[in-house]
């Protein structure tokens, strides 16, 4: 057989709830019960309020850089909803919706962006890792985590979130490859929002679909409409079932869009067209979800008003908590480096205010043995 086909594959795209509210009953039935659909909708609206207030905090100088989540909420939320509390969420920095759903106190995220490590001091029972600043690096931790649980015969899996840009990093490849070859049940959840700051996805991946990345590892893969929470939930649920059964990883490309700037330090008008943004505004996950709920009489304007008032209050409280925390003390930077502080650091810590370099020779014990 001089020329023979040694491999064949194809990739599907899943969508259930279209931007105009059309709902595919055959695929979508039972994916999200009505009561949960309402809760998820309310949750996204709460995250929007959080975004709005966080943005204002930054603009008024009360917080550092902040990355708006607006437009992408259905991805991490759908995943967090579909997974179980025993599963690890290993996030990047645009997954507030999923983290809050899991139970992360909202002020943690504010504290993080307020330049306070206590924002990352998370109850480990929550099984979430802190926001990951260095792009692409956290997926390997997700693989290690799932591996550790597999080793301990737990059925926990991990789910790691990352952007289209992150798929260009070497660590992404190594994480995918480790998981595939060592049979680690990690769900790789790519939020393809079309941009990595100012760089379009075509520069990160010139393949037809980002989901092709998974083919390199023989990994189960699918593309979903990431602004369709039903599709996201179904895809994640299917993947999780597959992972728990086979102990193998899976990949999901969720197509979505960030409606805001990359972060508050960015001005997206410099590199993308208003028409593009407008087009995606029409595909906003909350618009269609609200249509879905209203069509089923699960939602109306008065509920909306009430909920918005509630969200406003909740977020105001969160801000109060975050801003009300006592400032950290200088010594904090020494106190969490190791389980116990080594001697030389103790000296620096003790003398940091009394000596220029935090290691006043006169405080070293050996001084006593001076010969001259």
């Amino acid at each position: 057989m001089p020329v023979s086909k040694v491999y064949e594959t194809s990739i599907d795209r899943l969508s259930i709830l279209e931007p105009d509210g059309t709902f595919d009953e055959s695929l979508g039935k039972g994916v999200i019960p009505d009561g949960d659909a309402v809760k998820l909708y309310e949750h996204i609206m709460l995250c929007r309020k959080f975004d709005e207030i966080a943005f204002k905090l930054q603009r008024s100088g009360r917080m550092g850089t902040y990355p708006e989540n607006r437009g992408q909420e259905a991805t991490s939320l759908g995943a967090a909803y579909a997974l179980e509390s025993k599963d690890w969420l290993v996030t990047c920095y645009r997954e507030n919706a999923g983290l809050f759903w899991r139970g992360l106190p909202m002020e943690k995220i504010l504290l993080h962006w307020m330049g306070d490590e206590r924002g990352n001091q998370i109850d480990s029972e929550l099984r979430v890792t802190p926001l990951a600043i260095p792009i692409g690096t956290q997926m390997l931790h997700a693989v290690g985590l799932a591996w550790a649980y597999k080793y301990q015969d737990s059925s926990s899996v991990s789910c790691t979130f990352f952007g289209d840009g992150a798929t260009s990093e070497g660590d992404f490849h190594e994480a995918m490859n480790f998981a595939a070859n060592l049979d680690i049940p990690t769900l790789f959840f790519c939020q393809n929002n079309g941009w990595a700051i100012s760089v379009p996805t075509s520069i990160q991946c010139s393949a037809d679909v980002l989901a092709q990345r998974a083919v390199a590892y023989g990994m189960k893969t699918i593309q979903v409409d990431g602004n369709d929470i039903f599709a996201v939930v179904k895809a994640v649920r299917d993947a999780a079932a597959y992972m728990r059964e086979t102990s193998k990883p899976a990949f999901i490309e969720a197509t979505t869009y960030r409606l805001g700037d990359h972060t508050t330090a960015d001005d997206a008008r410099r590199y993308r067209d208003a028409e593009e943004v407008e087009e995606w505004q029409g595909r906003d996950p909350v618009i269609r979800l609200r249509k879905y709920l209203e069509q089923r009489d699960l939602w109306n304007q008065s509920k909306q008003d009430e909920m918005e008032a509630r969200a406003e209050k909740t977020v105001a409280e969160v801000v109060k908590n975050a801003e009300g925390i006592e400032p950290p003390v200088t010594e904090d930077m020494f106190d969490s480096m190791y389980a116990s502080i080594p001697e030389n650091l103790k000296t620096q810590r003790r003398t940091l205010r009394t000596s220029s370099l935090g290691q006043d020779p006169s405080q070293l014990p050996v001084r006593d043995t001076a010969r001259t």
């Binding site: 850089t65 070497g170 760089v199 520069i203 590199y271 950290p328 930077m333 650091l345 220029s356």
Partner: protein, 322 residues
Amino acid sequence: MANLTLVQAINLALIQEMERDDRVIILGEDVGPNGGVFRVTEGLHKRFGDKRVVDSPLAESGIIGTSIGLAMGGLRPIPEIQFEGFLGPAYDQICTHAARMRTRTRGGLTVPMTLRVPVGGGIHAPELHSDSPEAIYSHNPGLKVVMPSSPYDAKGLLISAIRDPDPVIFFEPKRIYRAFREEVPEDEYTVPIGKARVVREGSEVTMISWGASVIHCMNAIEASGRDIELIDLRTINPLDYETVMTSVCKTGRAIIVHEAPLTCGIGAELSARIMESCFLQLEAPVQRVAGFDVIMPYYKLELDYLPDTERIGKAINEIVAY
């Protein structure tokens, strides 16, 4: 002459070198239409086009690794890494290949690349946007490491770096990107790599620093009212020991100021060498005012971490009182 910020001076140097030599190309994350996250490459994409100002995939090792190939292929690439905290993924390509290619091939293949990286703390940035890794790239042999502290030096040093036949890491202290302006000649000029600058002369103490800290040193010296000589290294590797030693042997006292952690920082090397060269002249132990040996804290504590006028002032008092 134009009154420019450091960012503008660098931008001008890039434009002039790109006009002068079409082997010069820029690549990195967001360096294209967006002009870089600090706007250092602002306008360059429009001026020089897609071919010479290239938005790359989000992959630091890829940026440096391809730059090495570009350089071996006869070009003069200027890769940008967005923040020093993201040099990590490129560490291997920098130290294993860029630094070693000439030695490895006994001159057969060379890597004339200029790696631009914003560096240092003080701008209330998120995690991993405030470190100072210059010692890492000086302990690894084979690289040149430069850090300007003023617009004038920035332009002249960058032009030297781009023309240098070897790999140069050009660290840009982001804290002073726009902190002040300075008269910068519009014509091209070079500031030599490997030559420190005596910022002010003095007889009592020699203070040695580089990058954004130079300004804090200046302030502390002025506040102290003492006659202190201030040296701005400008180039960290190869280090201009002659200027340093001449000064310290004259003053008999030295203070080194840097943002990076104390342990194995450039201050350690300077201190050791000063003792080796000026032992008999030293009136007091060399003092180091540096970052503590801890992880660079998130921004609420960054000013507690960074050497400031107060800590430098303390060092002055301590050393003259010794």
